[in-house]
Every structure is written in structure tokens, then in C-alpha cells.
């Protein structure tokens, strides 16, 4: 199992109701269905990925994730997953708000723009960083936001979002010291503070 999938897999409780926003070809969701018997729903924009999801026996909706959540009643899901998709949406504030409205908890995974190789590439190379977590060049990247672990923590504090768990990922293992410097990716489990 991929490291990020393993971390999310460990967070999600057996039999939970899960929405995966930007579920891609459904790899993570189908692991969760098979091994944790979750009730799964995905939303995905790419048509080819929809065919893969259906092939895996998943329920998936074809569309962009920004317009996909409006119809769901409050707290429809135990978890709303945004793995490597948050940085691709225009209105992050709205998406996180919606994720925490329809989900009791959200699991957010994103590449850390402050990773040491990225810092070096900007500082010494004078170029937009390209690395394992940020594999795209400036002109072909689907990412519209570039954020760091520190940025996200500050965002949560400002929006009254409680961080339940934070995991930091290196290339092959978890990072425990100076994550904003050494982690390529981060996964946060969050919930809305008030009312919970």
C-alpha cells in the first residue's frame, strides 16, 4: 500500500461512511471498501478515471468537487477525504468548509511547498521546484495553490478548525522532526471546533 494510503487507511474506522473528493481511479476507496467495509462515494472530474472506478465496483460521481457537495445534508459522512486534491481547487476556503459541513471529519493530504529540496531549488536554483511531491513544471501543473505545513496549521487556527492528527511523509517513511523542512507531504485529520 502507498504510504499516504496507509496513513488514511489507519485513520478511517471500520464501516464508516466515506466521501473521497477527487478520488482518481478509486485505488484508495476500493482498499477502504475491501478491507474496512466502508460505505464509499467518490467524486472525480476525469472521465477515464470514472471508468476505472466503476470497474472497481465503486459508486462515483463525474464532476468537479467544488459543485459536488452542496446537495448533501450536514454530517452525511464520517470522513471526507481530500487527498492531493485540495491544492487543485480554486476556492479552498469553501471546499474545506463544505467538507467539514457534510463530514464529521475531513482528511486532507497535500504536498509541502517548504520541503528542503523545494527551498533549495528556489533559493539556489532560482526555479520553481519540481520534486517527487511536486512533479509538475510551472506551466503544466494542476495545482493552483502552493502551501506549506505551517500555512495549513495557520489556516486551521484562523478558521477555528481543530487538528486531530497530523502525519508527515518523506519519500518512504514518516518524518518526525522539523516536518515543514523535511516532509514532502502532509496528511491532516481535522474537524470543525464549534459544535463538535
Amino acid at each position: 500500500m502507498k504510504l499516504d494510503h496507509q496513513i488514511i487507511f489507519d485513520i478511517v474506522k471500520r464501516g464508516a461512511k466515506v466521501m473521497d473528493l477527487g478520488c482518481g481511479d478509486g485505488e484508495l476507496l476500493s482498499i477502504l471498501v475491501d478491507k474496512k467495509q466502508v460505505e464509499a462515494q467518490g467524486i472525480e472530474l476525469k472521465e477515464e478515471a470514472i471508468y476505472k472506478c466503476v470497474e472497481r465496483g465503486l459508486s462515483v460521481l463525474h464532476g468537479d468537487i467544488e459543485s459536488g457537495l452542496g446537495v448533501y445534508p450536514n454530517k452525511s459522512f464520517d470522513y471526507v477525504i481530500l487527498n492531493q486534491s485540495m491544492q487543485e481547487v480554486n476556492n479552498v476556503d469553501y471546499i474545506i468548509g463544505e467538507a467539514l459541513r457534510v463530514g464529521k471529519r475531513a482528511i486532507v493530504g497535500f504536498p509541502n511547498f517548504a520541503h528542503i529540496t523545494a527551498r533549495c531549488e528556489i533559493f539556489f536554483g532560482g526555479r520553481t521546484p519540481v520534486n517527487d511531491a511536486l512533479p509538475y513544471r510551472w506551466f503544466d501543473t494542476p495545482n493552483v495553490h502552493f502551501l506549506t505545513i505551517k500555512d495549513f496549521r495557520e489556516f486551521c487556527a484562523e478558521k477555528n478548525i481543530q487538528i486531530l492528527k497530523a502525519c508527515f511523509l518523506g519519500k518512504k517513511r514518516l518524518i518526525r522532526i522539523f516536518p515543514n523542512l523535511f516532509a514532502q507531504n502532509a496528511i491532516f485529520e481535522i474537524t470543525q471546533s464549534n459544535g463538535e
Partner: protein, 382 residues
């Protein structure tokens, strides 16, 4: 994966008659209709516990002959590419039923049928029917076949409307539904196109107030209605690809004969349609489509929890049943916590795509049905 595809070979239409007096079918309008005959075909074998039945609903001009060949026919049924051994609706696994709608003219009771009270064709005195009435008649056939619960109901366009109506009327008897290129209700634009078609028929003097059965039918009007219909079934791009501005004779003739290929195509479609379709049926069936409104509570009441799983399909270039109408279906389903998968298939064919984008439909339907049958085998209600 999927087995080799093959044809069903020769198939036959069967007939079921019910609603004899005094037990006529009470229609949504309050009027009674009976006796009613339904023409239907079945493909594949019904399994022992009768859990593998799939109901296929046809569109406006379709009929019970969905697949295989009638004896001495060169052309197969209207969805032959999708129904048969190894195909999306695999007759090695599933038992498929398709019946002609009431109001139709392809073997089921409709305006061209003989009214037992007058011993003459119903004509315009045929009661105005709804999609709900069509499904109610089909439900009688389902009971006759001894099937309690359908594994799946499916259809495109008006077939999709019946699919949605099936769930609205009998959610507990429908395990899954695949509505394709359809809508919960006809929009004003859709009603408008239907009305223009009806006016074309009724403006033809040969229509004679619907009483034309001892004469020729209003061929000009019906052909015109069909021509308008065909324009709405295509897209700007598919017409460009199919016809462009090509001329049949290579040069302008400066006449009003059909010179452009697109003109020839429409005329041909119109002319061949009148050979097989009844003008009054066109009026009654389009009216039934216009009446459909399953928005909100009418589809699933607030307090009703339904366990039907949906695969909703739409096509990008379909402007007659635009994809937003399918997304509306999905949004409503999700607001009611109903299991749903949705795909907007990239296609340039317009509304016709549901009869043409076969690889994409086959892939999605094959895998969706595999999941649904597996959950039936596992005894899972969901």
C-alpha cells in the same frame, strides 16, 4: 472479463392481454382502458430464484424488438449491440424483458387498436396516457411473468423516464436503475419540440381529426414531425461530420428538391418513419412525455428510504436532454442518500449517443451490473 460477443439469433414477439372488463386499468387521468395487450420480447433465461431479470424500456419510436432478428429480417432490434451473449446486458447471465408501451403502435394497445366498444380504431378517442400508465401496464406483465423484484430497469430518453417512473412507483421491486440521457421532467424546450411535432401532424389535412384509419395516415405531417425530431437528436458537430455542406448531385441545381445531403437524410428518415409508425401514437406518446414531472417528492417521498442503486448516464453534446438534467437526478438521489454513480460520456453524437456510444456504455453497465448481481448473491439489501 467479458466473453465473446454474439447475436441472439432469431427472436419472437409475444403478447400478453389483461385488464378485461370489469377490471380495466384505471389511468392517471381517471379514465379506464381495457382490455390491454402488451407486445413483449424476452432474451436469456430467468434463473431459479427469479433474481436476474432486467427490464429494458424503449424510447419514443422504439418497440418490444430490442435485440436479435425477426425471421426474414436483415436489421436486428434497436439495442442489439447492447443485448445478447457477452454484451453489456449479457443474456448468458440475465433475463431481459422489453415491452412496447401502451399508446404505441408496434403490437401493444394504442390509438390504432380496435376499441372493443365501437369495433373501430380508438383514434383520437384513445385515453390520454402518461409515463406512469405505461409503467403500470408493464407492472402487470411483470406480475404475469412471476417476477417479484427486478435486478435492473434501464432505458434511454423516454425509456429513461420509464426507468425513473419504475423507481418512483415500485422502489422495492427495482434493485437497480440505469436511466440514460433522460430527465425527471420535460423542460419547456422539450415540450415545445414535442408540440411542434404534434402540430405538424394535426395541420396535415390527412389527419382528419385523428380519424384516418380507413384512409392513408397523415404521412406529410408525421414525416415532418420525425424530421424535426432527428434534428434534435443530433448535434451541430455530428451534423457537420455526417453531412457538412455536401451536395447529393455535386452542384447547385437551383431548385427546391433535396440538394444538400442533410436534406436528403431528413427526408429519408421522415419517409421511412411513416412506414412503421402511427401518427396518433406519436401524439399520445409525446404528450405522455410532456406530462412527466417526477421532481422532488413525486420521485421519492420525504419519509421514504429506498435501496435502489443508480447508474445515471448523460452525453456531453446532448442538447435535447442536456446533462444538467441528469445531474439534477443525481443531486436529488444524493440528497436522499440513494446510492448513485454518474458519468457524463464525452460524445459528439448529441441525443442519439445513447444508441451509438456503445463501448463506453458497455463498460460502465457491465461492471455496474456485476456489482449489483454480486450484492444480490451476497444477500445484501443495499
Amino acid at each position: 472479463m467479458m466473453t465473446e460477443k454474439s447475436s441472439l439469433g432469431i427472436v419472437e414477439t409475444k403478447y400478453f392481454t389483461f385488464a378485461h372488463a370489469p377490471d380495466e386499468l384505471v389511468l392517471e387521468s381517471g379514465q379506464k382502458l381495457g382490455p390491454i395487450t402488451l407486445a413483449y420480447e424476452t432474451y436469456g433465461e430467468l434463473n431459479k430464484d427469479k433474481s436476474n431479470a432486467i427490464w429494458v424500456c424503449h424510447a419514443l419510436s422504439g418497440d418490444a424488438h430490442a435485440a436479435g432478428f425477426h425471421k426474414d429480417d436483415k436489421k436486428p432490434g434497436w439495442w442489439d449491440e447492447m443485448i445478447g451473449p457477452g454484451k453489456a446486458f449479457d443474456t448468458n447471465k440475465y433475463f431481459i424483458v422489453c415491452s412496447n408501451v401502451i399508446g404505441g403502435c408496434r403490437g401493444s394497445t394504442g390509438p390504432s387498436s380496435i376499441n372493443p366498444k365501437t369495433k373501430r380504431p380508438y383514434g383520437i378517442n384513445f385515453p390520454v396516457i402518461t409515463i406512469g400508465d405505461m409503467v403500470e401496464a408493464q407492472r402487470h406483465l411483470l406480475d404475469e411473468l412471476g417476477i417479484e423484484r427486478l435486478l435492473c430497469v434501464t432505458g434511454g430518453s423516454m425509456g429513461g423516464m420509464q426507468t425513473l417512473q419504475w423507481v418512483a412507483a415500485y422502489p422495492d421491486r427495482v434493485k437497480s436503475a440505469i436511466p440514460i440521457a433522460t430527465s425527471l421532467k420535460h423542460s419547456p424546450q422539450q415540450i415545445a419540440f414535442d408540440e411542434v411535432g404534434r402540430q405538424a401532424i394535426m395541420a396535415d389535412p390527412a389527419w382528419r381529426g385523428g380519424n384516418y384509419y380507413s384512409h392513408v395516415q397523415p404521412e406529410r405531417g408525421l414525416a415532418l414531425a420525425r424530421m424535426i425530431g432527428h434534428i434534435t437528436y443530433m448535434s451541430d458537430q455530428s451534423m457537420e461530420e455526417k453531412f457538412s455542406r455536401r451536395l447529393r448531385e455535386g452542384d447547385y441545381r437551383f431548385t427546391f428538391a433535396p440538394e444538400f445531403e442533410v436534406e436528403g437524410y431528413l427526408r429519408h428518415r421522415g419517409d421511412s418513419f411513416v412506414q412503421r409508425f402511427d401518427a396518433n401514437s406519436y401524439l399520445f406518446i409525446t404528450k405522455a412525455m410532456d406530462y412527466l414531472d417526477l421532481s422532488g417528492e413525486k420521485f421519492i417521498p420525504q419519509d421514504k428510504k429506498i435501496s435502489t442503486s443508480f447508474l445515471v448516464l448523460a452525453f456531453k453534446s446532448d442538447w435535447l436532454y442536456p446533462s444538467y438534467q441528469s445531474r439534477d437526478i443525481v443531486s436529488f438521489l444524493k440528497s436522499r442518500d440513494v446510492d448513485a454513480t454518474y458519468c457524463e460520456i464525452k460524445s459528439t453524437y448529441g441525443h442519439d449517443a445513447f444508441l451509438l456510444e456503445l463501448d463506453e456504455e458497455t463498460h460502465l453497465i457491465h461492471h455496474f451490473l456485476a456489482r449489483i448481481s454480486q450484492s444480490v448473491k451476497n444477500g445484501n439489501g443495499r
